[in-house]
């Protein structure tokens, strides 16, 4: 297994866990969609898988070893609001280089115009900023990508653009992908397997598309 979550429990107070006893696993090159009602804990699980939150109990394994706490995390999260995931006071060039230094060919493929690099986040639209988040998450060390409602705030054309370029990269490099979405149509388009969140608390049953 590429990434595996075992018996995860997490909550902001001890007595009321947001998620409890959740199991999840995904293999290399697999594209999994996670669907479920709002507030069920999908976002919490994605943050735990990306190492942004530490579970109260249970563990996240990456290639059968615990997910590294320090250093570059091989599972990268792309979040719903790109404007919150980018420091508003830094030029985008600096933000991108925090992860890695992509070449011109990559930037072209991901749809980042060279002149955007010298701008501040407030000068770009949500769709343009989300490309930077995608580019950042696609650093060479990344093996697994978690997209939490990544395209929900975007219009349909930008959504299709971003998914097209991201899927091209993911396919080429054989990365794993977890898509958290409320749109069944999108899940069916992008993923090879759809998982309902409720099924994760029992044995990870899922439906193939």
């Amino acid at each position: 297994m590429l990434i595996e979550a075992k018996n995860i429990k997490f909550g902001y107070s001890k007595s009321k866990p947001v998620i409890n006893g959740v199991n999840f696993a995904a293999d290399e090159g697999e594209r999994v969609a996670l669907v479920g009602p709002s507030g069920c804990g999908k976002s919490t699980l994605s943050q735990i898988l990306a190492g942004c939150l530490n579970p109260q109990s249970g563990e996240v394994l990456f290639e059968n070893k615990p997910l590294p706490r320090k250093g570059f995390c091989p599972a990268q999260l792309i979040y719903q609001h790109p404007e919150q995931a980018i420091n508003p006071r830094l030029r985008l060039n600096a933000t991108l280089r925090e992860a890695w230094t992509p070449d011109a060919v990559f930037l072209d493929e991901i749809g980042i115009a060279p002149e955007w690099l010298n701008r501040y986040p407030a000068e770009l639209s949500g769709g343009e900023l989300q490309r930077f988040c995608v580019a950042r998450a696609l650093a060479p060390q990344t093996r697994f990508i978690i997209a939490d409602e990544m395209s929900t705030m975007l219009d349909v054309i930008t959504q299709a653009q971003i998914w097209e370029l991201m899927l091209r990269q993911i396919e080429r490099r054989g990365l794993g992908l977890l898509v958290v979405t409320h749109s069944t149509e999108l899940a069916a388009r992008v993923c090879s397997r759809i998982v309902r969140f409720e099924s994760l608390t029992r044995q990870g049953r899922s439906t193939a598309v």
Binding site: S125, T152, A160, Q161, E185
Partner: protein, 303 residues
Amino acid sequence: MEKKTVLNVSNLSVTFRMYSKGMRKGGLKVISNLSASVREGEILAVAGSSGSGKSLLAHAVLGILPRNAIVTGEIEYMGEALTSARLTKLRGREIALVPQSVEYLDPLMKVGKQVSDDKYAVKRAFERYKLDESVMKLFPFQLSGGMMRRVLCATAVVTGAKLIIADEPTPGMSEELAARAMKHFRDLADAGAAVMLITHDIDLALRYCDRVAVFYAGTTVETALASDFGNIDNLRHPYTKALWRAMPQNDFAPTPGTQPYAGNLPDGCLFAPRCDRVTEECTRAAPESRTLRNGEVSCIYAD
């Protein structure tokens, strides 16, 4: 019987006075030639990506644009110009806003009181939106995002408004809740209200609205019937067709390029740089809006 037009916006332009580089003051035209109309008993979806001017339209109608905005064009309510004096009288009574941001609520006032002083009306409205009675006694910061939006919807319902302007009412709601909120707008429209629903989620809007006004870079490119989206051949403008093709349930095929920025717009038709039918004619002048198959379109080649 012909239904009465409640709100008619024509040739609206909005320019912001801005500080650009250094201390110089300039003007930034963010909306030009924007038109939309809503009739009694219908939902008009205003669709467009961010930066297309759809929220500014709502703010212009309600007279809540920031101080540095200059507005030209006509806004008519019930056939008469909507002056600021008239607006003050109607706002919150006949015209209601379901805002995009929860920051429109007073943070120091219990939500029940903010919806209306009439407790029973609030209770009924809250029941419709599956809000518990205890929510009336909470302060805005104690609500979740989805709850907050339902409270905002309830506010519009309680006033019994004739014109409801909903600015992105559904993000942050789960699919069921979003569907329920849309169903309520549908009910309000069926009861005779005119609803202007501003959204980027064209997918959800199409299931509940009657007509769609498609905005692109601050202008209206097409007004179509919701049913037109069933078949790409019924759509009129190349941008609307591009939207259709990009939907996951259709082709999921993206059209390259991005919407141009205000202040950096191309000459002539604003969609010309991304259009596959573009000719030299298109770049010469902005296309006039014309009626085509029960809809409106601003494209010289639409047929």
